[in-house]
């Protein structure tokens, strides 16, 4: 029995069962969780061939759930990432408290995301959207004291986004009397142009908040950093993609029909590019690895937004390609940071150092992760970046592409810092006894790492399903060879040749340097280094980590000085004090209240004409 209903039943049911199991038979909990998510993967995989649309009435609304290739793309990402992160969490969360709570919300988030992508109407979309929001909020505040204000910030921003979306839904209902997505797409042009642009903007805000689009991104770094790592991986990998999923629909299905399309495209693309650039700058100055990755996430989502906004076949392809790939590589990076945290208890890049020989598999994952983010061939990131740049240039966004290039070049800085601070550099005595993370953590990480290589060699395994998914937006065909990339001017890159060349040279050079060399060379510790004659003692601190990019920070100081976060906080504080002033309307004095009553009566009498249109 494979259908959407079973998918929801199993996922949400599994959530509740996991909670119950935690409080009754603890041993069952992990089993339930893993089985639930594995079944999720299976069902999602089988859905397109077997599922039929599900439609029923709920109140005034016709609810419609259905599978299409666009949603299938995202659902697979959710399912696979959910499965991997849950396996990862078995050992990661072992010693923590309130696991029932954790796993219940975790599965609810996954279920909510399934619900979103399979919704074919606005009501169920919003319904699942909010479920996803509060359950992810619950996970954000899972740990630590300062989680409170961070969680609240996350929820308030999510709520602003969700309510923007709700306003749009309500407007659509009031004017088109429908909540069905397909009817909306057909009749969108029947709306007045003012209404069209309002709906588009509201939806963009709604989905933009979740995809951490500036200026709505301020919740993201803290929320990503503070939530438990298995969830962070899902949060950044899949949950943020829900925003992308929606933006795709809004930009390519709704905005594309309106007269403002060109404007919307340009504005959103620029917002995306600026998001990418600024987030990258902020990532560079972080000292906490998870926060760095969080900003990196925001930056990558910026690229995806650019790709969607530009709206040429190649750019949409690149955006969706990057969206899928980002789900994988950002999960890898967060997981490797999490593995470091699991063993050392910290992700502070000024503290942790030199873990490469202690945690080789984690390092390998991180290495593949950063190479993918950087977009350096031969891993998958290259294909995404390449398509994005080509599409941006060829659609005439010349300055946009410069911003993107600047962002992605600057990305090398934080990527290097991430891997250098945690894994390379001085090997301190403090971390001498660190072991590699347990198998449940390394295996999912390494599988995903190898996958990025496969995608790098054969981008076709992503491009073909994404090409199908793009059928949802219009008639796009990508009859490319499995390992080649083509741009709109007919230039191409053959990944097979590239990878073969790189591989061959790499292997030849590696053999050359290893033969007769590796055996004869002696391993020496990182204390035994060239220090211009001074011999460092055992306890001397030779780690170079604090203020790693001071010179660069000086160069971009004017950018860093301004913080939109502070502005928001200021607004919030002012509002609160205004409310505080206002609440003294309620003086607590009975006479005052009596006076209010009398005054109210008097005002009604005196202004009866104004209020009821009739003079007394």
């Amino acid at each position: 029995m494979v259908s959407l209903t079973t998918l929801y039943e199993i996922t949400f049911g599994g959530a509740i069962l996991a909670f119950i199991a935690q409080h009754t038979i603890k041993q069952l909990r992990t089993f339930i969780v893993i089985v639930t998510s594995a079944l999720g993967v299976y069902i999602v995989w089988r859905l397109p061939s077997q599922a039929t649309d599900i439609s029923f009435r709920l109140g005034d609304f016709q609810i419609l759930w259905g599978v299409n290739e666009y949603s299938q793309l995202f659902a697979l990402l959710i399912a696979v990432l959910g499965f991997f992160t849950l396996i990862y969490s078995i050992d990661f969360m072992k010693e923590r408290e309130r696991l029932g709570y954790f796993y219940m919300n975790f599965l609810i988030v996954i279920g909510g995301m399934y619900g979103i992508v399979y919704s074919q109407d606005l009501i169920s979309l919003f319904f699942f959207w909010e479920i996803m929001t509060w359950s992810s909020f619950m996970l954000v505040i899972y740990c630590c004291d300062d989680a409170q204000s961070i969680g609240l910030k996350y929820f308030v921003f999510s709520a602003i986004g969700a309510y923007a979306m709700l306003t749009a839904i309500v407007l659509i209902w009031a004017n088109l009397e429908t909540t069905s997505l397909s009817v909306l797409f057909e009749n969108f042009t029947n709306l007045s142009s003012g209404l069209q642009i309002t709906v588009i903007v509201l939806f963009i805000v709604g989905f933009g908040v979740k995809s951490a689009m500036m200026p709505f991104h301020v919740w993201a770094p803290d929320a990503y950093a503070i939530s438990p790592t298995p969830f962070t991986a899902l949060f950044s990998g899949a949950l943020s993609k829900m925003g992308i999923w929606g933006l795709g629909i809004v930009l390519l299905k709704l905005a594309a029909q309106s007269g403002f399309y060109v404007w919307v495209q340009d504005i959103v693309a620029w917002i995306g590019a600026i998001t990418a650039l600024l987030a990258t700058f902020y990532a560079i100055v972080q000292t906490d690895a998870k926060k760095l990755l969080a900003y990196s996430s925001i930056g990558q989502l910026g690229y995806i937004i650019v790709g969607l906004a530009i709206g040429t076949p190649l750019s949409i392809m690149s955006a969706l390609f990057l969206a899928m790939l980002h789900g994988i590589f950002k999960a890898m990076l967060f997981m490797s940071a999490g593995a470091v945290f699991y063993r050392t208890g910290s992700t502070d890049m000024n503290e942790v150092t030199g873990l490469i020989r202690k945690m080789p598999w984690t390092f390998l994952t991180a290495l593949f992760g950063i190479i993918t983010v950087a977009g350096v061939p031969p891993l998958g990131g290259f294909a995404a970046k390449w398509m994005l740049y080509e599409a941006t240039i060829q659609s005439g966004h010349y300055f946009l592409v410069i911003v993107l290039f600047a962002a992605s070049t600057a990305a090398f800085l934080y990527l290097y810092r991430f891997i250098f601070s945690l894994f390379l550099g001085q090997e301190e005595k403090e971390y001498a006894d660190i072991k590699e993370a347990p198998l449940t953590m390394t295996v999912p990480m390494v599988i995903m790492a190898l996958f990025t290589l496969v995608v790098g060699v054969f981008p076709g395994i992503f491009i073909n399903p994404i090409g199908n998914a793009m059928g949802y937006f219009g008639n796009y065909t990508f009859n490319w060879d499995v390992s080649s990339l083509l741009n709109e001017w007919g230039n191409h890159v053959d990944m097979m040749t590239v990878v073969m060349t790189i591989g061959a040279i790499f292997i030849i050079a590696a053999i050359f340097i290893t033969i007769k060399n590796y055996r004869t060379t002696r391993y020496v510790t990182t204390k035994d280094i060239h220090t211009s004659g001074e011999i460092p003692t055992e306890n001397e601190n030779l780690t170079y980590a604090v203020d790693f990019y001071k010179p660069f920070e000086r160069a971009i100081a004017p950018v860093l000085k301004r913080s939109i976060d502070k502005t928001y906080n200021l607004i919030a504080e002012n509002l609160e004090s205004a409310f505080d002033f206002l609440r003294y309307v309620y003086t607590g004095n009975g006479q005052t209240y009596a006076l209010y009553v009398v005054l109210f009566l008097a005002v009604l009498m005196v202004f009866a004409e104004l209020i009821f249109g009739i003079q007394l």
Binding site: R57, L58, G59, D60, I123, F126, F127, F128, E130, I131, T133, W134, F137, I141, C144, D145, A147, Q148, G151, L152, F155, V156, A159, I160, Y163, L166, T167, V170, L171, W173, A174, E576, A578, F579, D580, L582, R583, V585, Y586, T587, G588, G590, T592, Y593, A594, Y596, V597, V598, L599, F600, L601, L604, M605, A608, I611, F612, G613, I614, Q615, L616
Partner: protein, 496 residues
């Protein structure tokens, strides 16, 4: 004895008189009486419901036909509200069973029964003077319950309530007097019929008196000064009674009168505006409260603002959404007051700051509070989501986009102050542990509410199917007049 709507009034009234007598014999039995009564009433309510939906039941008391006799009108709307009141009443009794242990608890139950009598009376009566009487019964019971704890704060709050409440009675009585002078009848349907002949200025004057008088109990700003004090100083179940029952009945009275007698557009717009102001000011004030029950009180007012907005739209979807919101709010706010009651009890302080870390110590009670908070914010899959959605949709249907935005802004404020408390409960370090356990009856009461809230959230159709005829009844005044006066539809040719 065949089932009849009269029992909603007669049985609790009888029980209220019986309770002191039983109390003389056995104090413990007293506790059971309201439970039995309300269980019975719930049974009656559920049995009568389909009949009420089918065709309104009009009962005449004392044998006179309308417009001279006293009438009870049990249509879909009354059916819905009485069911709500009895069910909420039952849950409140269940909760009170172990919560109200302080002497003289038999008085508490007596007053509680009177309050149920009053509320169902307001809902059922087809006679405006009777409505006044029931309003007074409710109000007096409410004053006394506010001061039930017999402490200084309680007495002060009760006095304020009494002070403002006396304004309410005066204005309502004055309005009824004027109506009687003008139309010579007290039967609601008859008044509605004859109201057309009343001079417009007089109509407006009566209307203003009603708005002010009933607005006090319905918590319209700025008439709601008494509410925060009364809610927070009264015992927690009483807070739930106010939020879940009393206010609902009064709003019903206000809306019934307005729709029946003054159904013109500027009145309704006035309600939308008053609703928005009430909602915004209440939510903003709630944000800055330091005591949890005061916060809940302000939140209650805010929710009532929302209900008034929806009623003020004057459209059938609007009224239905308002009724839905009333239903949900009654359930959810009761749940919140219940859990807050035990949270206050366990932490030993009314202050929110004292709740730090109680989530670990009292997981179930805290869970119910969090549950209620998520539900009242309007998050799916809880019941509050649907009613808020319906209100927004109906507001948008009336092309009041600004109001949509304001409602959503106030929802954001709501999120902030509720989640602040929730995250305090779970994510601050524990300050103190309390060895006392939350009694089973309290947990059961909260559990029932939570299950209903979730059920309605997942299957909103169950409630919506009842609400549609109820909303139609409120909108369709001519039908009310016709059935209320036993007129044939042919005779009715009045233009409103």
């Amino acid at each position: 004895m065949s089932l009849s709507p009269v029992q909603f009034i007669a049985v609790p009234l009888f029980a209220a008189f019986l309770i002191p007598l039983i109390g003389k014999a056995s104090k413990e039995t007293v506790k059971l009486v309201p439970g039995i009564v309300l269980l019975y009433l719930s049974y009656v309510a559920l049995n009568l419901f389909p009949r009420g939906l089918e065709r309104p039941i009009v009962e005449h008391i004392a044998g006179f036909n309308p417009p001279f006799g006293i009438t009870l009108y049990y249509g879909p709307l009354a059916a819905f509200l009485t069911t709500l009141v009895t069910l909420i009443g039952f849950v409140i009794w269940l909760y009170s069973y172990k919560f109200i242990i302080r002497e003289p608890f038999e008085k508490y139950y007596m007053l509680f029964m009177l309050l149920i009598t009053g509320s169902t009376g307001i809902i059922l009566t087809g006679d405006i003077f009777n409505m006044f009487v029931f309003l007074e019964i409710t109000a007096i019971a409410a004053y006394s319950l506010t001061a039930f704890l017999r402490d200084k704060d309680g007495a002060e709050a009760a006095f304020k309530y009494l002070l403002i409440g006396s304004f309410s009675s005066t204005f309502v009585l004055l309005a009824i007097l004027l109506i009687y002078m003008q139309t010579g009848t007290l039967n609601l349907a008859d008044i509605a019929l004859k109201m057309a002949d009343v001079p417009i200025t007089m109509k407006i004057f009566i209307l203003i008196l009603f708005i002010t008088g009933l607005g006090i109990e319905a918590e319209i700003f700025p008439l709601n000064g008494w509410a925060p004090d009364a809610y927070s100083q009264a015992p927690s179940p009483v807070g739930a009674v106010f939020g879940g029952i009393v206010v609902k009945a009064t709003i019903y009275a206000l809306m019934r009168i307005v729709y029946l007698m003054f159904n013109f557009h500027s009145v309704l717009h006035f309600f939308v505006i008053m609703g928005v102001i009430t909602m915004l000011i209440a939510e903003m004030s709630a944000m800055r409260q330091h005591q949890i029950k005061r916060m809940l009180a302000f939140s209650s007012i805010g929710q009532m603002g929302l209900v008034i907005i929806a009623f003020g739209l004057g459209t059938e979807p609007g009224v239905r959404a308002a009724l839905f919101q009333m239903f949900n709010h009654a359930l959810i706010k009761t749940l919140l007051f219940f859990s807050a009651g035990y949270l206050v009890f366990h932490s030993g302080s009314k202050h929110i700051s004292a709740l730090d870390g109680l989530g670990r110590d009292k997981p179930l009670t805290s869970f119910f509070f969090a549950f209620g908070a998520l539900a009242i914010i309007g998050l799916p899959p809880f019941a509050g989501f649907w009613s808020k959605l319906y209100i927004l949709l109906s507001v948008a249907d009336a092309h009041l986009v600004t109001v949509v935005v304001l409602i959503l802004i106030s929802a954001v404020i709501e999120i902030v102050y509720y989640l602040r408390v929730v995250s305090r409960l779970y994510f601050k370090r524990e300050t103190a542990t309390d060895v006392r356990r939350t009694p089973l009856s309290g947990l059961a009461a909260m559990g029932i509410l939570a299950v209903v809230i979730l059920f309605v959230g997942l299957y909103p159709n169950t409630i919506l199917d009842w609400l549609t005829p109820a909303a139609r009844e409120l909108m369709n005044t001519s039908e009310y007049i016709r059935t209320g006066l036993h007129l044939n539809s042919g005779l009715l040719s009045i233009n409103f």
